[in-house]
């Protein structure tokens, strides 16, 4: 990984040349990313509550971490975040695979192109606006969600007013927004299957299931792992949609980890505790990132 640079006869650059090109970006990320993180580390060791600033901000050792780790709400929100992931991920994978297979099927070129292009729209839609839209769609009195279930004779339902409904509503919006992500990844996997092999297999077997299992599956697996890791990182980050749609409520029914830390930090103003929580989240995230990078960027050198 960090072997001495192999000297090439044609290299034409000095030892420090790369440094000059890299320095601006590295310095910027160090100052904007690392310095505040160290600041947070210091803050997490202090009692740092802005609403009680008259007490000062004394160092209290690891007390914030002890408090966070023994705080049932912190574990509950982490658990709820995991539950959210387990609810949306299978749906996004299943629907995404179905859509990718539909789009990969030959024929109907124009319609396929139209459907494929439309997939980009949810991915680019401002998350905060998705949340606002969710509030309109799932409104108890005039939301289209109730209009839709009304077609089947189901009585109107106060989606955002009760725990299960609100949780379902944020899941549905997430599935709408991120299924296209899975679909596009699967689709690019499917398009990697060499044409001759796929043609031969199609002649050989009429069964689409056999084609999928024996020919296409190996090409889908790398993308599948990428999806799992990236989506889990995204769910740990998920804030905008939930914040605009439910503010974590009703009660704490939709309070995912990022929403909870934001509340502790910026609505309760207990920055010491919130910093400790954020750093614990950072540790989880770094582990995820390392796993991801181990899997996908090994080929770089």
């Amino acid at each position: 990984m960090s072997a001495a640079p192999p000297r090439r006869s044609y290299s034409g650059y000095g030892r420090f040349t790369p440094l000059w090109f890299l320095a601006p970006a590295v310095l910027a990320l160090l100052v904007i990313g690392i310095y505040p993180t160290l600041f947070a580390l210091v803050t997490s060791l202090r009692q740092y509550n802005l609403t009680r600033s008259r007490d000062g901000f004394p160092f209290i050792g690891l007390a914030n971490y002890q408090q966070v780790l023994s705080d049932p709400t912190f574990w509950e929100t982490l658990g709820r975040t995991a539950k959210f992931f387990l609810c949306v991920m299978p749906a996004e994978i299943g629907l995404g695979l179905g859509i990718a297979l539909l789009l990969h099927q030959p024929g109907l070129g124009a319609l396929r192109a139209l459907a494929r292009v439309s997939l980009v729209i949810p991915l680019a839609t401002t998350y905060a606006v998705v949340g606002l839209l969710g509030r309109l769609i799932f409104n108890r009195d005039f939301g289209i969600a109730n209009g839709f279930i009304g077609l089947f004779g189901v009585p109107a339902f106060d989606w955002l007013g009760n725990s299960a409904g609100a949780f379902a509503a944020i899941c549905i919006m997430d599935v709408w927004q991120w299924t296209p992500f899975c679909a596009l990844i699967f689709l690019s996997g499917l398009s990697m299957v060499p044409v001759e092999i796929e043609e031969a297999a199609r002649l050989e077997t009429g069964s689409k299931a056999a084609l999928l299992r024996n020919v296409q599956l190996p090409y889908l697996l790398p993308g599948f792992t990428a999806m799992l890791i990236l989506r889990s990182a995204d769910v740990l980050k998920l804030f905008d949609v939930v914040f605009t749609m439910t503010r974590g409520g009703p009660g704490a029914a939709t309070e995912l980890i990022s929403v909870y830390i934001q509340r502790v930090g910026f609505r309760v103003f207990d920055l010491g505790t919130a910093s400790a929580q954020a750093l614990l989240l950072l540790v989880i995230t770094i582990i995820l990132a390392r796993v991801y990078i181990r899997f996908f960027y090994r080929e770089i050198e």
């Binding site: 998350y127 309109l136 009195d141 005039f142 109730n146 990182a233 990022s258 960027y297």
Partner: protein, 271 residues
């Protein structure tokens, strides 16, 4: 293909299209409804469109100001990320040096960091140095997620540029900087453009940092859209018109880079 299968395929594709586009359609159509039509139960599909909501949005200084703020922040953070990121990408694509892959990992791993992790300390630091509620702080913070994308996409692009060009230039006495400036930058324009579009989309859509680091002066569009959600009777028409105004430019940008969408979102894990 048998006709039935073809029919089923077509129906499936139409369903995908309809469901994908529906919330977007619902937002746009709601933005043309009067409050009475919006509050109708069951919801109405056919109505006489009105432009009143848009008139209200564009007359609202807060919304117009927020869109200007969002534009300033998105354009300058993207520009800054490109200025900082392209030389780094050049170094990663062309030089061998100690610790190169570690550096690369570090750049990429910024993609994973939750904004809340940085938002807290940056809030404290910004408060201490008086940068709260300025464009500058948002521009600087947004670099943390735009720079990794620029570095990733541009490194990939620069690698695909043939080395012969560089050899020829060196024989004529070009310096390393000349090679970067005269060969790699111009030839890398497609990759730079794609990464800049992604940078713009991500910073335009960002909510958490903007919510935490700004007060009155520099509220961005997503923050203002969110702020309408208080009070008893919500101005749904205006909210949906604001949403449409916010989403439209990024939708157009996203359609421009639709071929690269997966690469941009996964940082190249899948080609």
């Amino acid at each position: 293909m048998p006709r039935f299968g073809r029919l089923l395929h077509g129906a499936g594709l139409l369903l995908v299209f309809a469901v994908t586009i529906f919330p977007f359609y619902w937002m746009v159509s709601s933005s043309f409804k009067t409050q009475t039509d919006l509050l109708a139960s069951p919801p109405v599909w056919l109505f006489t469109p009105t432009l009143a909501n848009y008139a209200e949005v564009f007359a609202d200084q807060k919304v117009v100001g927020a869109i200007v703020n969002s534009l300033i922040v998105a354009v300058f953070s993207t520009l800054l990320a490109v200025v900082l990121g392209t030389p780094a990408a050049f170094a990663l694509a062309r030089y061998d040096f100690r610790g190169k892959s570690d550096l690369w990992f570090w750049f990429i791993s910024n993609r994973f960091i939750s904004p809340i992790v940085l938002a807290l300390p940056i809030y404290l630091v910004a408060q201490n140095i008086g940068l709260l509620d300025t464009h500058l702080i948002l521009i600087l913070v947004y670099i943390t997620f735009i720079l990794p994308i620029v570095v990733w996409i541009c490194t990939d692009q620069f690698r695909s540029i043939p080395r012969d060009l560089e050899e020829a230039a060196r024989l004529e006495g070009a310096s390393q900087f000349d090679i970067f400036w005269r060969i790699y930058l111009p030839l890398g324009v497609p990759g730079i453009a794609v990464s800049a579009i992604f940078g713009f989309i991500f910073s335009w859509n960002e909510l958490l940092y903007a919510l935490v680091l700004t007060r009155r002066a520099v509220q961005t569009a997503p923050v203002v859209a969110t702020s309408f959600m208080s009070g008893y009777e919500l101005p749904w028409g205006k909210i949906m018109a604001t949403g449409t105004v916010i989403v439209l430019p990024v939708t157009i940008f996203a359609l421009l880079v639709s071929r690269h969408m997966v690469r941009g979102l996964t940082m190249g894990a899948t080609k």
